[in-house]
Amino acid sequence: MEFEPVIGLEIHAQLLTDAKIFCGCSSKFGAAPNTHTCPVCLGMPGVLPVLNRKVVEFMMKMALATHCVINRECNFARKNYFYPDLPKGYQISQYAHPPAEHGWVEVELDGGKKRIGITRIHMEEDAGKLMHDEHNPASYVDLNRTGVPLIEIVSEPDIRSAEEAAAYLRCLHEILVYLEICDGNMEEGSFRCDANVSLRQRGTEPFGIRAELKNMNSFRNVQRALEYEIKRQQYVLEGGGQVVQETRLWDDTAGVTHSMRSKEEAHDYRYFPDPDLVPVVIDNAWIEEIRKEQPELPLEKRERFMREYQIPAYDAGVLTATPATASFYEATVASFPTINPKAAKAASNWITGDLMKMLNEDKKDFTASPIPPRAIAELIQIIDDGTISGKMAKDVVEEMYKSGKPPGEIVKEKGLVQITDEGALTKTVAGILEKNPEQVAQYRAGKEKVFGFFIGQVMKATGGKANPQLINDLLKKMLAGDR
């Protein structure tokens, strides 16, 4: 029997607002425990929530980017359960009337593109953090994270493999980062993913019994956990067994999922409309206001880059991976007097090559690049006009990165101008040939490998400033000349 996985993902994205969703505390990560707390987010008696307007706008941005219908009216509900990281004993979330529904995204797969449906997007508050004491029978609660705004994005069960799940996840991640509404940091928990997985007989309609996977805190883990879980369920079913509906935790070190002991009662969250919050009504004018602010999304940008700059798909992909990279590239290209495919490709090579490598080493992104885009354009121009060689440029770009100086200045300071004077170079080459009769003889005897030796010698003699093409031509001519 052949099984087909049916996967749906639930993604929680922390929003990049300055303040929390229902109070004025900072939503920044990493503060000392309980220093970003106030009576409201501590759930003290008598205090009341007031919704941060920006949370609604960020939700709308994601809804528009994923082709959702934005409902005119939505409301908040209380999800009731007890846990020490939940100070009110309920989480303010949205239930019966979500703000956005019926969307989709297109993900890029090896075999082409696939549309994956978005069931709904809603707003809610994050819970705090619970830490366990290894030595004492105690746990500790830090409520800084309580009330940090989240959007939950629920996909349709349209995903059919771990690879598709990873592609979908990357796609949503990229959109969130592009919209500048989430920093996408999976390790710090600002982008989290749970998965519902079941198997069904291929070609049949009904879904199998599903397991919910949690605790997958990287793209790689999501894929590994899903691969494992699909195999596990397949094994259970093939053995004539039944999949149990339960929550399973991914164990990264062991590479397995295991059941959260089913001591937990069937959850009864007793959702009901939160009487402390009023409905959010979103009219068309507000939607249009947000739509106007929407940036170009990654997929659109990728296609435009390929079209406008005539760069390969791979380059366009790397360049549009983050908004910062893409705008750096566009600023570079815009610094050329005229845009031509050759310069556009050269810019891509420098940006995705040397510069990206140096930034990655320093853990910086392109907004923090010490080299401004116009300096990259200048660099490409002085290579193009023969002022310096490509090889020299490698050193120049490193120096640009270190000092922040423009390439022209570095070239001048270091006297790096390329020697293109044929007469002068002919003399140098002749001198070298004269000094190394042995190698000349070898070359002429057919040992062409020594050619490299001569190039090295010329470069050494000229301090690396000789035009490589010219050296090449001269050497070939002069070594061959007397034969």
């Binding site: 009576p39 501590l42 759930g43 003290m44 008696p45 008598g46 205090v47 009341l48 929530p49 007031v50 919704l51 209380r78 009731n80 007890f82 020490p84 100070p87 009110k88 004993g89 309920y90 029978p137 746990s139 609660v141 009864d268 007793r270 959702y271 009901f272 009487p275 402390d276 919050l277 009023v278």
Partner: protein, 485 residues
């Protein structure tokens, strides 16, 4: 006349002319407290020292800047209003030692108006009760008869005003908790429109029903306090950004030509004959003042109690989930793991009535019962609200008894929750509909127990209620009796 027995407006006049000082008034009130508190037990926490300091500051302020809306007037706060640095218990063991690091908005407003705080008054635990007997700190007694309850849940505030242990007080009203004790203690009590007075810092019982309001000795004082506490608060999402009129302007306007609705469903079997007689008398009084009384119908009245005892507990079970022994308040030391800690803390921290309502609410929201209970009740609530809309199309105000009986005896109903709930039968609909209501004294029973009459109006018509109540008060000539303590 002792200073403690005067009204706010009388005292403000004396302060203005320099005839007395806030320190003298405050000393008079605390003298009275010393004399009668042992019998009445109206307070959970007294704030004597800070009150005297505030009074001294008020006297300075009067000399320097003149008199504000409440400068130097001793006011008591129901112990459900959070007070920065002063413990706020809500009548519960679970908050026995809770000291809020913030003031309720109403407390800020009173402070800004120059009020002196006498202390925090007793109440049914988490405002769940109609007799002030469910308080962890013991029952308050009715100043008119110490063997009887003062009503509830704001019984401490009502008793304190009636006994002269403060000049006026704040209470909260979720199903009648201001109006019912006001009636049973012979004082004026108003529940404003939902959203008119900020709930920020009011410990929540049922969020869609709770509202803070004043207890005063007369209608003019009610207008004075409403002027201070009413108004929009950006810290509350359900606060209404509607302009607040000067309520004192409504005091002397008269009610010539007004139409008064008498809902037939409120004059039913089970109502005490003396109460009914007193309320019938008010109808004659307002007619004498030029109003016309007509019969109106509020057909869903008989369902109000059932709706209320689903909606309020449902909201309450969620509101009270925060009392878990983690962040503040009582924690049982017996729990060995988290689950045990939760259960033992809440089992020991809450009293029986609170647990009963948490159980009803949890059940009404639980899987499989939500539609039959919570949803059904919320639908019937909409019909109750519609009844009022239709009635107010025909009349300016509605007149009803505040309570079906005068104050009952301490312990009389504690073992029968349904009987206790029935004592709120005339006040609950107001909260469900979100409209304002006021209870005004309308006479005494032969045994000398006060009786109250309730006036209701449409949303944000507090001015109309004050106008009507003031006209009634002037015409009624209710005997100026005081409890003998």
């Amino acid at each position: 006349m002792e200073l403690y027995s005067l009204t706010i407006h009388e005292l403000l006049d004396k302060l203005r002319t320099g005839e007395t000082s806030s320190v003298e008034i405050t000393a008079s009130v605390f003298g009275r407290i010393d004399a009668v508190e042992k019998d009445v037990r109206a307070y959970i926490t007294l704030m004597r020292e800070t009150a005297l300091a505030e009074a001294a500051r008020a006297d300075l302020a009067i000399r320097k800047d003149g008199i504000g809306a409440l400068t130097g007037i001793p006011i008591a706060l129901k112990d459900i209003c959070c007070t920065n640095g002063v413990r706020t218990t809500c009548g519960s063991r679970i908050l026995q030692n809770f000291i809020p690091p913030y003031d309720a908005t109403v407390v800020e407003r009173l402070r800004a108006a120059g009020a002196v705080f006498t202390g925090k008054t007793n109440m049914d635990e988490f405002a769940m009760g109609s007799s002030t007997e469910t308080s962890f700190f013991g029952a308050t007694r009715n100043p008119w008869d110490l063997t009887r309850i003062p009503g509830g849940s704001s019984g401490g505030s009502a008793a304190a005003v009636a006994a002269g242990e403060c000049i006026a007080a704040l209470g909260s009203d979720t199903g009648g908790s201001i109006r019912q004790p006001a009636a049973l203690c012979g004082v004026v009590g108003m529940k404003p429109t939902y959203g008119r007075v900020s709930r920020f810092g009011l410990v929540a019982f049922a969020s869609s029903l709770d509202q803070i309001g004043p207890f005063t000795k007369d209608v003019e004082d009610c207008a004075i306090l409403m002027n201070v506490i009413a108004g929009y608060d950006p810290r509350e999402s359900t606060s209404v950004p509607e302009e607040v009129p000067d309520y004192r302007r409504f005091l002397a306007r008269g009610i010539e030509g007004w139409t008064v609705g008498i809902p037939k469903e409120y004059f039913i079997a089970g109502i005490d004959p003396e109460v009914e007689a007193a309320v019938r008398q008010t109808i004659r009084v307002v007619e004498g003042a030029g109003a016309k009384c007509i019969e109106v119908s509020l057909p869903h009245t008989e369902y109000c109690l059932a709706v209320y005892y689903i909606v309020a507990p449902a909201e309450a079970c969620s509101n009270l989930a925060r009392y878990d022994g983690v962040k503040y308040g009582f924690r049982s030391e017996e729990g060995r793991d988290l689950m045990e800690m939760y259960k033992k803390t809440r089992a020991a921290g809450f009293g029986a009535e609170v647990k009963r309502r948490i159980m009803i609410g949890t059940y009404a929201l639980s899987s499989g019962y939500y539609d039959a209970y919570y949803k059904k009740a919320s639908q019937v609530r909409a019909l109750i609200k519609r009844d009022f809309d239709l009635a107010f199309a025909k009349c300016d105000v509605i007149l009803t008894p505040t309570t079906p009986t005068p104050a009952f005896r301490i312990g009389e109903k504690t073992d029968d929750p349904m009987q206790m709930y029935l004592s709120d039968i005339f006040t609950i609909s107001t909260n469900l509909a979100g409209i304002p209501g006021i209870s005004v004294p309308c006479g005494f029973t032969a045994a000398g127990l006060p009786v109250g009459v309730q006036f209701l109006a449409g949303h944000f018509q507090e001015g109309r209620l004050i106008q009507f109540a003031s006209a009634y008060e002037k015409q009624a000539h209710i005997e100026k009796r005081r409890p003998t303590l």
